[in-house]
């Protein structure tokens, strides 16, 4: 009580101690900053500086000229299109599943089971996922054999599992659950009263979706689609395990540059590829954050 009663005297009496306390406070966060500085910011800086450094030194964009080759352009087109298709399809199917969940009992077992399973499956990726689909729909897969026995040949026009359609189908395995997780809160924010209000004003189901729920959910849906895009674009392990002989995708090009013999001759090219990837993801995630902010405005 006495200290609080005399604030002027208190601060005047020990100015130096206040300063020392401040620097001591900063000392408390020093380990964290040293760590992230070494293992997060330094690698990022290495990529940033390396991609703008010419092989013989000096600032240059020559590394990015290496991206402007037909197979590198193809790698980017492939990666971007697989990410876009799997993001849009995953968003639509995930939204449908989320709607099926949200129209059920909010405290029911079904909802709890689906949200928990989504949490697990959204994290599921990588090598095991590739093997799951090899066991399912490769030429010796369970489903392929089953359908063949019943007269259906899913590979009549060639094996598509290792091409863009197959990779898209595999990516949906983690895209749909992720969509359920991120889109469910937006759907939960929709009040049944709004539908009743539409109906009492003479609106049909179409009117409700077109003029009420649609516009409200659009920013959330778009934002979640962007998140799914970034998610697919960053993925590496699944394609790496699926296409063991390499393929024309950006992550696999980085892999070839990092593990191959060419590493010594062009270290800047891998850094330029990494830089371009980071740039794309940062742009997409920034748009996502902006849309998310718009959504939360009416969600609470």
């Amino acid at each position: 009580m006495t200290a609080a009663g005399n604030p002027a005297l208190n601060t005047a009496a020990r100015p130096t101690r206040g300063e020392r306390r401040l620097s001591l406070s900063w000392l408390g966060v020093a380990p964290f900053f040293v760590y992230v500085g070494l293992f997060l910011l330094l690698p990022t800086a290495i990529i940033l500086i390396g991609s703008f450094t010419a092989p013989k030194g000096g600032v240059s964009v020559i590394n990015f000229a290496g991206i402007n080759k037909p197979y590198m352009v193809k790698a980017f087109t492939n990666s971007l299109s697989v990410s876009a298709v799997s993001a849009v399809t995953g968003a639509v199917l995930g939204a449908v599943l989320a709607y099926a969940v949200v129209t059920g009992n909010p405290n029911g077992l079904m909802r709890r089971a689906i949200t928990s399973a989504s949490g697990v499956l959204a994290q599921f990726g990588g090598v095991a996922l590739a093997f799951a689909f090899i066991a399912t729909i490769s030429t010796v897969g369970f489903v392929t054999i089953f359908l063949k026995d019943h007269g259906i040949d899913i590979f009549a026009n060639g094996v598509w599992l290792y091409e863009a359609p197959g990779i898209t189908l595999i990516y949906l395995y983690f895209q749909i659950p992720l969509m359920v997780l991120v889109f469910l809160p937006a759907l939960d924010g929709i009040r049944p009263q709004w539908r009743e209000a539409t109906e009492s004003l003479g609106g049909s189901t179409w009117h409700y979706w077109r003029y009420v729920a649609g516009p409200l959910l659009a920013p959330a849906f778009l934002g979640c689609t962007l998140l799914l895009f970034a998610n697919a674009f960053s993925a590496y392990a699944t394609v790496a395990a699926l296409l063991t002989n390499g393929g024309v995708y950006v992550p696999l090009q980085i892999q070839a540059l990092l593990t191959g013999e060419t590493e010594q001759s062009q270290p800047g090219l891998a850094q330029a590829l990494a830089f371009t990837m980071i740039l794309i993801v940062v742009i997409v995630m920034t748009l996502y954050t902006l849309l998310q902010r718009r959504t939360t405005r009416w969600l609470r």
């Binding site: 449908v96 099926a100 994290q123 949906l172 749909i176 980085i254 990092l258 850094q271």
Partner: protein
Amino acid sequence: MNRSRRLKLRIFRTVVLLLMGAYFLVPIAAMLEFSTRGNSVTSPRTLDAWVQIAQTPGLTKGIVTSLQLAVITSIGMLALLLPTMVWVRLRLPQISRVIEFICLLPLTVPAIALVVGLKPLYIWININVTPSVLALAFAYLVLVLPYSYRSLDAGLAAIDLKTLSEAARSLGAGWVTVMWRIVIPNMPSAILNASLLSVALVLGEYTVANLLNFQNLQVEIAYVGLVNAGTSIAVAVGALLLAFVLLMVLTLVGGRLQQHNYIPGQRA
């Protein structure tokens, strides 16, 4: 809601849940089927592929390595992140946004891109510090930052940290005592959550290990897959079911522990 619409909704829900259920369950069933196949189409079911796991030295080594990495990463994450977050909340609230930004940064730097920048760093570590595979934990700690941060942040937001720590301090407790006997016991579910997410992430990690030429579980699975598909699929489904159980336990236990948390004002 009128009757015909309710019926339509019911049919819609059933169809969606059945189709989605099939899409998500069939691959897991197919893995179990594939891993119990015999050598030919007509041969009976066999557990050979599963028995092979124990007899493949690379796999057992990979499992041990990944489990060690999971433990080291979880402990390291808690040791680095928890004191920092508590400290920032109590003494440096002005930089909390900076900490949040840094912790969420790995979400916008794909692992496949980050590894390009980590490569020169690891070449240096390899020569000057240790060539051990466990050095991967340094990189993994960065990868788990966003998930751990969110989980711990939610846990810290649910307790009245300032009052609790000031009460402890005024009774003569030091900072270590505050951390050990006040903060940690008050947020068990958040700590468990952050640790289990880290464990799940480390057990499934392939990108960084593969490109830095380290052999962890996933790298071994991929390698065995080139030679013996059945065995690698058996390990993959085993690891998957383990992660499934782990995370399911997390959601169930997490929900229950949350109810016992100290929430200021709620008991008044």
